[in-house]
Amino acid sequence: MNTRFGTLRALPLAVAASLALWGGAAPAQTQEPINIVINQSPWLEGFANVVDLYQQQTGNSVTLDVNPYAGSLEKQRNAVRAGESEYDILIVNGIFYPEMYEGGFLEPLTDIDPDFTLDPQVYTFDDTLWYDSETKTVNAETGDLLTIPVNPNITMMFYRADLYEKHGLEKPETWDELLANAKAIQEAEGIVGMKQRAARATISISWDYWPYLNSFGGSLFRDESGGDFFVTLNSPEALEALKMYLKIAEEVGPPNPASMDQATLIQYIVTGQAAHAVLPVAAQSQMDDPNKSAVVGKIGYMNLPHAPGHESAPAIGHWLGGVPRNLPDANKQAAVAFLDWFQQPETQIAYAEMGGSPVSAAAYEGAFAEKPENRYMIAMRDALPTARRMWTIPEGAEIVAVTEVGLNRAVAGEIGPVEALNSMAAEIEKIMQDAGFETGRLPDLAD
């Protein structure tokens, strides 16, 4: 095996081996070896499995360079800014892809292989696969196809379905109903009612808060899709959303919610110490694993709540695979060959079977999704139509640095919600001004 990633893939190997036998004897290598830079995430294991399958089926060699989240981003930036990239495929996060797009660092996939077409069953995640360099917008009609999705990370509510049944609770539609359910379980069972991902990181609390913001009718900009970058983060709707976020943290959260990161949330859920947590869908792979979970078969999945009169708005934090421009042609061809193989319906179903999170309706709408152990796929199917991207501008890296600190300080109690929103809006307005956008911001919220 050529991956630098460890060997923790015993179970799926049987599937992989049997699928590899489709082609009879091991095929000869037809493409250059490729090197993929990827981050360490809950979905890595599934992706590594599918990479193994590719190697077995095609004889082509793939290396995974696995890094912490921020480290992966740094390596990607360095690679595309060098004379020649050391990576053939970049696995770019749904938050940071705009800087790769606008910087002109990725080669349109159809320029590498004119015959390449996106499989019609692959989800397009708010059209974030295409980029129009003239209008500097993501646009499926006029843009170039720069990436294909490799992971569908949207947020979902993970909850203790067994406790819901025990206490006769209904799935919540609104945040208030969620709060009531979390309180009921917390009081009856003595476990934490709701865990929020409120820690500061490269991106953590922002991704957790955004579904509240959007589902209260708030937004970062007045109309980003229409090119209106007037900052509206300090709107009354955003304030209501933040107050609700803080209320949940205070009433049904752990004692120090401001330090809760994703790994801690997963730890609390799999050890049966929390009733609810909003997590990326990829974390489902750990819930029914008896080696990692004390709540096998007890976790249910549902779409996120919303404010009355609004719709649920899970945040898209998907991952995209793209090919750097600064590569030799043979490497570009090899990279596209992998991506093309990856997006095919049969690969996507195999990806799901091997513990991955597929990106194609072929997996979510087939019989496979109806099995009890794949129940997350039903919730995912419901959530995808209303999932919302956070932003599509390269200044996202600067914006998220502001929101991570501002929101976390509010949860930690260093500043109040009004001051947090006003100060974040002011900082974001300045970032946009400095970047040359026509911008502005709402008047400060009053205390």
Binding site: R81, G104, N256, S259, R409, V411
Partner: protein, 292 residues
């Protein structure tokens, strides 16, 4: 034997390779950092573009809450951690100097923390501080206390980081001060003993003044290193909760690399270097005046 005096050009040529080496390795990167601090760098179409922004990056420092928190927390950490390290290091050095032959074993034991890589220290202490299964909370539970969220509580997180820094770096102070203690002139102490001076009086009036230059130098060395603290914060708290453990190196890392604001990150770096130089310069000047 008579010394041959080299001519001025020969002396200059002799020093030149070392000078060039210094310029290449130190001055050029510093000059590049300084130039970067007056620019905004953007990447487009695969190449970097530098736009001159004058003092804008420096002016922006005044409005940066993360920078302000970073400076404040770093100063708290530098003063408290360094004071504790020098104090404990001095105590251990004095004890060790009286142990005779067994001192060697203790010396090795005391030096262990400084030999452990930062990443391992982070992992060890993160586990020890864990609210649910950390050994510290388990020990507290035995006497009916806790659990305490050492790293998750805004009021405790910085103190917890300082405790790790003290554990990690006290051996450095110990090592420097032990050398100074062992070099103290014995006759002075014998004379004090003959004159009937007690232990505390001897320590206050003789040991401490004689050791003062070494203590001061150790403090300055440690303060300079402590000012650069990064790995402990990165591994233990990530600067949070809120800004309670935000230190300046971590702020620079976030602005420079994560946020990709190279110009602004460079301005922050230059300012911090200037600040450290001023603080150290003032301290050295005062020490010289005191010595005179």
């Amino acid at each position: 034997m008579a010394m041959v005096q080299a001519s001025r050009p020969v002396r200059f040529l002799t020093v030149l390779p070392a000078l060039l080496f210094l310029v290449l390795l130190s001055m050029l990167p510093l000059a590049n950092l300084l130039a970067l601090s007056f620019a905004k760098v953007t990447w487009a179409e695969g190449s970097a573009r530098w736009d001159w922004v004058g003092l804008a990056n420096y002016r922006a420092l005044a409005d940066d809450a993360l920078f302000e928190a970073g400076i404040l927390n770093t100063l708290i950490l530098v003063v408290s951690a360094t004071t504790l390290q020098v104090g404990i290091g001095l105590g251990l050095a004095l004890i060790c100097s009286r142990l005779g032959r067994s001192a060697r074993a203790y010396r090795t034991l005391f030096l262990l923390p400084i030999l452990i890589p930062g990443i391992i220290i982070g992992a060890i202490w993160k586990l020890m501080y864990n609210v649910q299964f950390g050994i510290i909370n388990q020990a507290l539970a035995l006497v009916g206390l806790g659990p305490v969220d050492w790293l998750g509580s805004s009021s405790l997180a910085l103190a917890s980081v300082i405790a790790v820094d003290v554990w990690h770096w006290t051996p450095f102070s110990f090592l420097l001060l032990l050398a100074a203690v062992e070099a103290l002139p014995k006759d002075v102490f014998e004379a004090a003993q003959i004159d009937g001076a007690g232990a505390w009086r001897t320590f206050r009036r003789i040991t401490l003044p004689l050791l003062w230059p070494a203590i001061f130098t150790t403090f300055i060395f440690r303060a300079i290193i402590a000012f650069k603290v990064f790995d402990e914060v990165y591994l233990l708290t990530g600067g949070g909760p809120g800004t309670s453990t935000q230190v300046i190196s971590f702020t620079i890392y976030q602005r420079f690399f994560v946020q990709d604001s190279a110009g602004y990150g460079a301005a922050m770096s230059v300012f911090v270097m200037f600040l450290v130089a001023v603080v150290i310069g003032v301290a050295m000047t005062r020490q010289k005046a005191r010595t005179r």
